[in-house]
């Protein structure tokens, strides 16, 4: 029982981090049709900026609040000056561009902060452990487990009930129609791209206290995020949530029960989903 619950919590906390990354990825894809390879690098940038703020002012919360908007600001420049000229062209141009941006950011981070690993401490409020049967469990992980659904709920409410959310969904469904009824799609695209970047950077800032901050940390998470997005359904919001949960739990339980297969499990699931439900678990006809 104890092991089971620990596995559930381990899986949920990793899953929630994955969710934050994949939800940005899937939103950008859903609305703009752009597969952003640099998403993992924005995640990494979020972690580095959080670390830098912790060094400057000594507060994790400042890093968590101030880092992601900076990354979003950078991504506005990326969208406006690099991505926008490519919208009319073949998708492969966008893939190449975002891949290039990823390499650029990865090396940029190494030039600024060096190749060494950095450690960010969780804030005092969340740094303890709580007793958990005969063992203990870190509070910070519980914080992640709770924060994930809260962010998810907030996003869902935003998409369902606010005017902006509805406009976004409309533009995702039919870009031309949205333009005809007066939606300024270019501005909308910039906003969505920045929003996705903000989510990635938020994930990065949240990941900073529980893993080492180092160059290429984004490469490790982007692959799993792509799997989450495909499993859940490209562009699907609940899909990203379900996919992230499945992958997180599969990771923790797989490690315990089928260690030889653990590495392959996400890919097996990916193959099964692509064969049986190519649009993903929550992928609609849109």
């Amino acid at each position: 029982m104890e092991g089971f619950l620990a596995n559930v919590l381990n899986g949920l906390s990793w899953g929630m981090l994955l969710f934050l990354i994949s939800v940005g990825l899937t939103t950008v894809f859903g609305v703009m049709g752009v597969l952003n390879f640099a998403h993992g690098s924005l995640f990494m940038l979020g972690a580095y900026l959080c670390m830098q703020f912790v060094r400057w002012v000594g507060s994790f919360w400042v890093g968590l609040l101030a880092g992601p908007p900076l990354v979003a600001a950078l991504s506005i420049l990326l969208e406006r000056f690099l991505l926008r000229p490519l919208y009319g062209r073949d998708v492969s141009f966008q893939l190449l561009l975002t891949f290039g941006v990823m390499l650029f950011l990865d090396d940029g981070v190494r030039l600024i902060w060096g190749p060494a690993y950095h450690v960010v401490n969780p804030p005092a409020l969340l740094s303890g452990v709580i007793p958990f049967f005969s063992q203990s469990y870190p509070v910070y992980r519980l914080f992640l487990v709770i924060l994930g659904p809260l962010v998810g709920l907030g996003l869902w409410a935003f998409f369902s009930f606010t005017r902006w959310g509805k406009i976004l969904r409309a533009a995702a469904m039919d870009r031309q129609m949205a333009e005809i009824v007066g939606v300024r799609v270019p501005v909308l695209f910039t906003a969505v791209f920045a929003f996705g970047a903000w989510l990635a950077a938020l994930g990065g800032a949240l990941a900073a206290p529980h893993q080492s901050v180092g160059p290429a940390m984004g490469e490790r998470i982007i692959i799993e995020s792509f799997i989450v997005v495909v499993i859940g359904g490209m562009g699907s919001f609940p899909g990203a949530f379900a996919g992230a949960l499945i992958l997180g739990l599969m990771n923790s339980f797989g490690t315990t029960f089928v260690p030889h297969l653990q590495m392959a499990l996400p890919y097996i699931l990916l193959a099964v989903i692509l064969l049986t439900r190519p649009r993903g678990l929550f992928g609609g006809e849109a």
């Binding site: 381990n10 981090l17 950095h118 450690v119 315990t256």
Partner: protein, 407 residues
Amino acid sequence: MTKRCAALLLVILIGWAMTGMGLAAEKPVKIGFVYIMSGPFATYGQFAKQGAELAIDEINKAGGINGRKVEALFEDSTGKPDVGIRAIRKLVFENEVDVVMGLDSSGVASAVAPVMNELKTPLIITHAATPDVTGTKCNRYTFRVSLNVNQNIAMAAAIAADMKAKTWTTAGPDYSFGHQSWEYFQKYLSARKPDAVFLPQAEVAFSPAATTDFSAFITKIMNSKADGVLISLWGGNLIDFVRQAGDMGFFDGKREILMTLGAATEVLYALKDKMPEGIWVGTRYWFQANDTPVNKAFVDAYFKRFNVYPSYNAHGAYGAVRSYAAAAAKTKSVDKEKIIDGLRGLTIELPVGNITIRPEDHQAVTDGVWGKTATDPNMPIRILKPMRKFAGKEITPPVAETGCKMN
């Protein structure tokens, strides 16, 4: 007019003489280095580069190798075998280096070693520890000046034999290095302590190299019945593991822990006080392990220049350059074939102590050290106290056991 002619002639003659002098000065000795310079393990490449530069500058200041200046070229293996092979081919064919040094990953080393036969260029491995490259895949051109898995695990087993733990498990990277570490640990500990129990393969924790969340592996070990853990994770993996394990109460004193590469300064600088005290950690070189003048000079020069203490990877690169220079002095040549004769059986004093490169398998017999992590208020990182030192002869398996058939 004749005056001007004479002046012109003089200028031409002087110019000619100077070019002639330029031609007479020999071309530099080129050393190609291949390390992981990007990605999550890049900090290891950084330290190695510093160690190599320090050695080369010292040698150049003292007149170079056999009177020729030494020049370094660095390539990034990215930790991938195909990239590593490409980098070495480029160094050999395009840059025409005289020797190749480096390699961090065992995966890269295993792929590269057989290629050296075909490139006919000496390779001195300074970090990668797989026994294969001086064992079943040994060849005329491949050497290693650093400790290998067998040697390091022999020390781990000696320390484990004195511990109370009865049942052992492991946390290691899920590729040859992690699996070989565990395999040799079982072999060597069983020999010393026949009643030691080891968890079966399905119950130990091998994590993919890309893992950043180790909670599932930590939970698995904590819920197993093992009271001893051999940790062969390294680099970013080890940092993540130690931090997360610390949060989850893994270091609560209920289990004996051995970290085979825990005393890498790359890791200790990142973790600082997050590295728990009282844990046995291994390394390939520890900067405080001996107070010979050679070691003191190396550590002082390194710290003065880079403001950090040298890691084993820095020492590996430094030691390889020094060994190469010694072999070149011995054979009075940098000819690729002659250097091999110089390296075979070479004994040289490095900061780590005296090492001897065995002529039969090209593995260096070098002293090893393990220690318990401790705090020193004057040091920015954890230090080792007490230390246990092992003589190279004690921990190096005989040539017959390595499976090496030298061509």
